[in-house]
């Protein structure tokens, strides 16, 4: 009997010929990623008396959540991380300048097809866009991984989303994943692996795939795969010298369930507060005023996201009652946006350009919301209190929807531009 991508990778990483859903395995991870959470991880290692990392070359660390340090207290946490990576001999440390972890690790060639990767961040599922089994863990489990290189995993069932049809102009992969969440709920993939496939997946850019893999955790998934192909090989060709294989699921692999998604008539989608699966098509939204629009994050802060926003905003102004924050996901994206003139266009329109990083997405700094305010954001979560006041509302949409909404000062249809 064949295996899915999740089963293949967990079998290989646990030294078994085959594994089956429901089975528990202890696997050796190929890569461990930590960000600002390394401060908490370092304190746990210290408390436990662990002074050595199992393999420092398999650990990547950077700072993206509180960047640049917003308070003296967070500056102390940064210093703690800097001292810890030095003491633990973790040389793959990118500091505060590189950007959001899930954009930076692929850019720097760390994420390869077939790898098992754990990160102290729920959106580690992003690496599934490259055919890697990426998943989030907490501080204590990361401390255990850094000490031993190992972790237990339950082999998940796998479900598939087969995407067919052609996306309309200004409709993006973000709209597909929001549609899936809305139609099938935020628990459709709970504790499961997802494989996205079909003609739409094949045609999709790496960046667009990353958006869907990123948000697969929002439907509960442990992993969110696209089958790696020549696009992945091309992306990695200038970024790594490490050998890798384009791993694929077996033809006779067993799937728990398969869902057909025809994207041909899909409208831009908007997730209403306070749940990712509270989704409406943009034509059903009505008049929803926005005080802030946020373009960025590990979900949608890549060059193609900034590019489509710039296309929409060229020669237009951000509404006087609205702030548009733009946060390129990485320094590489930032530089690309400078080179292409995207930032020039966005600044001309009245956008506020923030440094690469997580920005206000998780509610700690750089653009938080006051009570009674509303925000349309290209991020991944709209939970109560996500971006500041619990009395504020966050709506989720694509970069195109964010740009159109910034112009009109209310949630707007990007197909008008």
């Amino acid at each position: 009997m064949g295996m899915t991508l999740a089963e293949k990778i967990l079998a290989r990483a646990s030294g078994k010929a085959e594994v089956r859903p429901g089975q528990y395995v202890t696997a050796t991870v190929d890569l461990a990623m930590t960000h600002d959470a390394m401060a908490a991880v370092a304190l746990i290692l210290n408390e436990a008396g662990i002074t050595k990392v199992w393999d420092p070359d398999r650990v990547v660390c950077l700072l993206d959540h509180y960047t640049p340090s917003p308070t003296a207290q967070m500056a102390e946490a940064r210093k703690l991380v800097e001292n810890a990576v030095t003491a633990l001999n973790i040389k793959n440390f990118y500091g505060q300048q590189a950007g959001v972890c899930h954009q930076v690790l692929p850019e720097k060639g760390w994420v390869l097809p077939g790898q098992l990767i754990v990160g102290t961040d729920s959106h580690t599922t992003t690496y599934g866009a490259f055919g890697a089994a990426g998943t989030g863990i907490g501080f204590s489990e990361m401390a255990y991984v850094l000490a031993t290189g190992k972790l237990w995993f339950k082999v998940p069932e796998t479900i598939r989303f087969v995407m067919s049809g052609t996306l309309s102009p200004r409709v993006m992969s973000k709209d597909i994943i929001l549609y899936i969440a809305g139609k099938y709920s935020m628990t459709v993939a709970q504790y499961k692996a997802v494989e996205f496939l079909g003609s739409v997946a094949k045609e999709m850019s790496i960046a667009s795939r990353m958006t869907m893999s990123n948000m697969s955790v929002e439907i509960g998934a442990k992993f969110g795969f696209f089958e790696p192909d020549e696009k992945v090989r091309r992306y990695l060709s200038t970024r790594t010298d490490q050998p890798f294989e384009l791993v694929s699921p077996d033809e006779d692999a067993v799937y728990e369930k398969e869902y057909e998604v025809d994207v041909s008539n899909l409208e831009p989608q908007v997730a209403f507060p306070f749940a990712v699966d509270n989704v409406k098509s943009v034509s059903e939204v009505g008049a929803a005023k926005v005080d802030q629009a946020v373009l960025g994050s590990c979900t949608n802060g890549r060059l193609e996201d900034l590019r489509i926003a710039a296309e929409i905003l060229t020669g237009r102004k951000v509404h006087t009652g609205t702030r548009l924050l733009v946060i390129p996901a990485s320094a590489e994206v930032y530089k690309g946006a400078i080179t292409e003139g995207i930032l020039h266009t966005l600044v001309d329109s009245g956008a506020i350009i923030c440094p690469p990083g997580c920005g206000p997405c998780f509610g700690a700094h750089m653009g938080l919301l006051a009570s009674g305010e509303s925000c349309i954001a290209s991020i991944n979560r709209n939970f109560k209190g996500r971006m500041g006041s619990p009395e504020a509302k966050v709506y989720l949409g694509s970069p195109a929807t964010v740009a159109a909404s910034a112009i009109q000062g209310r949630i707007a249809d990007p197909r008008e531009y």
Binding site: A48, G49, I50, S122, M186, T187, F362, F383, M387
Partner: protein, 166 residues
């Protein structure tokens, strides 16, 4: 550790990590952070919860972020256990990792009222409503997780590893 008994607080479906541990306070000291646990959906909870109390919830409890502060803050408030119809996976793992007993029990939500007395037997995976004298079956924890829980979480495990290496 195997038998836990306490008074029930009830929460619904999809209780997310931003309401359990708001992003604004994630980096605050635990003494501050725990004051804001679940306050946006139940302002009384952080003040009124007592040591040994138990949360009963619907499906997808703990969805969202990988922030370990979510179960850690509940533990810091003295919570004895969480029993829900289902959990988001990272929250579930994190609870085990910090030694907070947690178990999935598909029929739990409708079987308890706020304030009922709940007894959880981790070894037999039984959830008992002591008030209503009703016993429910929960999904047994695998041995690996029960071992981590019995040791009090991953930190004690790591201390053993450090001692072995020394």
């Amino acid at each position: 550790m195997n038998i836990i008994r306490g008074k029930v607080w009830k929460f619904g479906n999809d209780v997310d990590t931003d309401v359990i541990s708001p992003g604004q306070y994630v980096a605050s000291p635990m003494e501050e952070l725990k004051k804001h646990v679940l306050e946006s959906i139940n302002p009384e909870f952080p003040q009124e919860v007592r040591s040994g109390d138990i949360i009963v919830a619907g499906s997808n409890f703990g969805c969202g972020s990988s922030r370990e502060t979510a179960p850690a803050a509940l533990k810091a408030l003295g919570l004895g256990a969480i029993v829900a119809e289902s959990f988001a996976r990272i929250f579930f793992r994190n609870a085990i990792a910090i030694g907070l007993p947690i178990i999935t029990c598909p029929e739990v939500f409708g079987s308890f009222a706020e304030g009922d007395e709940l007894q959880l037997d981790l070894a037999s995976a039984k959830v008992i409503n002591v008030t209503k004298k009703k016993t429910l079956n929960a999904q047994p924890l695998p041995d690996e997780m029960r071992e981590v829980l019995s040791k009090g979480g991953i930190v004690p495990l790591l201390k053993e590893i450090a001692r072995e290496k020394a």
